[in-house]
Symmetry: C2
Subunit: 237 residues, 2 copies
C-alpha cells in the first residue's frame, strides 16, 4: 500500500460534541491526526465523552471560523455527500473508488463532513473538487457523522493484500490422525457400533470424517487425550 497523502478531516458546523469525539476516536483508530473544526456549535466539544483514546487528536484539533481558512494549504478538497447531491454537476464517486483516488493523490487532502442536520452547504460544496458517497441504501441514506468518518478513514487504510490469516494454526500430522483412527476404531468395535461384516467400510468413513474435521495439531492432541482417557476408564470400569 502506497503511503497516504497528508490528510485533514474537516468537520463543519458540527452540532453534537459526541460526534466530534467519535470522529477523533476513529482518526486515532486508523492513524490520522489532523482534525479541523469549522465553527462547531458547542464549546463543549473538547470534553466529548465518546472520545476514548482520542485525547491526542482532540488536543491538536484546530478551530476555524471559515472553511476557506480551514482548507488553506490543501490541494485536493473532497466533500462527503449523499445521493441528493447528484444534481450538483460535481463528480460523485462511491467511497470504494474515491478512496483510491485520494490514496494516489499527492496531497495535502482535506475531507469535509457537514453538519448532522444539513450536511454540506452549497457554499461548502463549491470549494470541493469532487464528492465522495458512502453507498448507503436509498431508503436509509443518511449516516451518523461519527460512523461516516470511520468508514471513510477505514476505506483509506483498507489493504486486501495483507496475509489472509493473522494466526495460522499448524494442522495435525498424518500420524496423529492414524493414531486417532486406531483408538476410535477399537472403541467403536468394543462398543458394538461396528460389525465384523461392515467394519472395513465403517473405518473408511471414520477416516474420511477425521480428515474433514481439518483438526489443528493442538486440537488433535486434545481429542487424542480425551479418547485415551475414555478408553482407559471404560477398560477399568
Amino acid at each position: 500500500l502506497a503511503a497516504l497523502p497528508k490528510l485533514a478531516v474537516v468537520l463543519i458546523s458540527t452540532r453534537n460534541p459526541l460526534n466530534i469525539g467519535a470522529a477523533a476516536r476513529a482518526m486515532s483508530n486508523f492513524g490520522f491526526t489532523d482534525l479541523r473544526l469549522v465553527s462547531p456549535y458547542s464549546e463543549a466539544w473538547k470534553e466529548a465523552r465518546s472520545a476514548v483514546g482520542a485525547a491526542a487528536v482532540l488536543a491538536k484539533a484546530q478551530v476555524y471560523e471559515s472553511l476557506a481558512a480551514a482548507i488553506s494549504g490543501c490541494r485536493l478538497v473532497v466533500g462527503t455527500a449523499s445521493l441528493g447531491h447528484r444534481d450538483l454537476r460535481l463528480d460523485v464517486r462511491r467511497l470504494e473508488h474515491g478512496a483510491r483516488m485520494i490514496r494516489k493523490d499527492a496531497g495535502p487532502v482535506a475531507i469535509l463532513f457537514g453538519s448532522e442536520k444539513y450536511g454540506l452547504s452549497n457554499e461548502d460544496l463549491s470549494r470541493c473538487h469532487w464528492l465522495l458517497r458512502i453507498p448507503t441504501s436509498a431508503e436509509h441514506e443518511s449516516m451518523n457523522l461519527g460512523q461516516a468518518v470511520a468508514l471513510v478513514l477505514y476505506e483509506l487504510i483498507r489493504n486486501p493484500r495483507t496475509p489472509q490469516r493473522q494466526y495460522k494454526p499448524r494442522k495435525a500430522t498424518a500420524e496423529v490422525l492414524e493414531r486417532m483412527e486406531e483408538i476410535l476404531g477399537e472403541m467403536l468395535r468394543a462398543s458394538g457400533y461396528t460389525q465384523a461384516k461392515t467394519e472395513a467400510s465403517s473405518l473408511l468413513k471414520l477416516r474420511r470424517l477425521l480428515r474433514r474435521m481439518n483438526l489443528s495439531a493442538r486440537d488433535a492432541e486434545i481429542v487424542l487425550g480425551m479418547l485415551r482417557q475414555i478408553r482407559w476408564k471404560s477398560k477399568v470400569g
Copy 2:
C-alpha cells in the same frame, strides 16, 4: 456481487443505548434488518436517540437471555475481536478477508459484538467459528461499538465493481474549445498580453491550457458566455 447470506447482528451485554441505536442505524444504512440483543444493560435501548432512521430495525429487534439462544439457527458464528485475542487459537481474519468469507457462506451467519468495556467473553468466543478483526492501529485499537458495526456491514456490501463515477458530465466539444481560444486570443491581443512576435507561441500555450482544464460541456458554455460578455462590455466601454 453475489447475494449475501442471511445475517444477524448480535450485540452482547451492550451498556450504552446510544450504541444500540447507532448499530441499528448502520444496519438500516446498509440494508440489514436482523438485530439480536443478548442481555442489554439498559431497558431504555429502544429509545436510543441516535437511532435516526433505524426505527424499523429497533422495532423488530429481539432480546435474548443467552448467546446460545440468540444464535440458534445460525450455521456460521463470527466474533469481532482485537489483537488481544491473538492467543485464542481461533482463526483471526482481517475484515477485508473475513467479509469475503462471510459473503461466500451459505448462512445464516451471526456476527457478534461484545460489550463496550470488555468485548466478547471467553464464553462468547467459545461459540465462534472464527474471529474478525478491524485493522485498527496497535496503539489505538479499541473502536467505538457503533462505528465497528458500521465498518463490518460496509465491508460486506462494499462493491468495487460499480461504475467509477455516479455522474459523468459530458466534456466540451472541440468546436467550443476552438471558439473559446479564438475569443480569448482576441482579448489577449487587444489587451496587449500577447505581442506580435510571440503571439503564435502564446496561442499554443493557451490552447494547451484550455485542454488541460478538461471542461465539461456545460462549464465551457458558462465560460464562453462570460468571455463574450467581457469582450462586449470592453468594446462598449
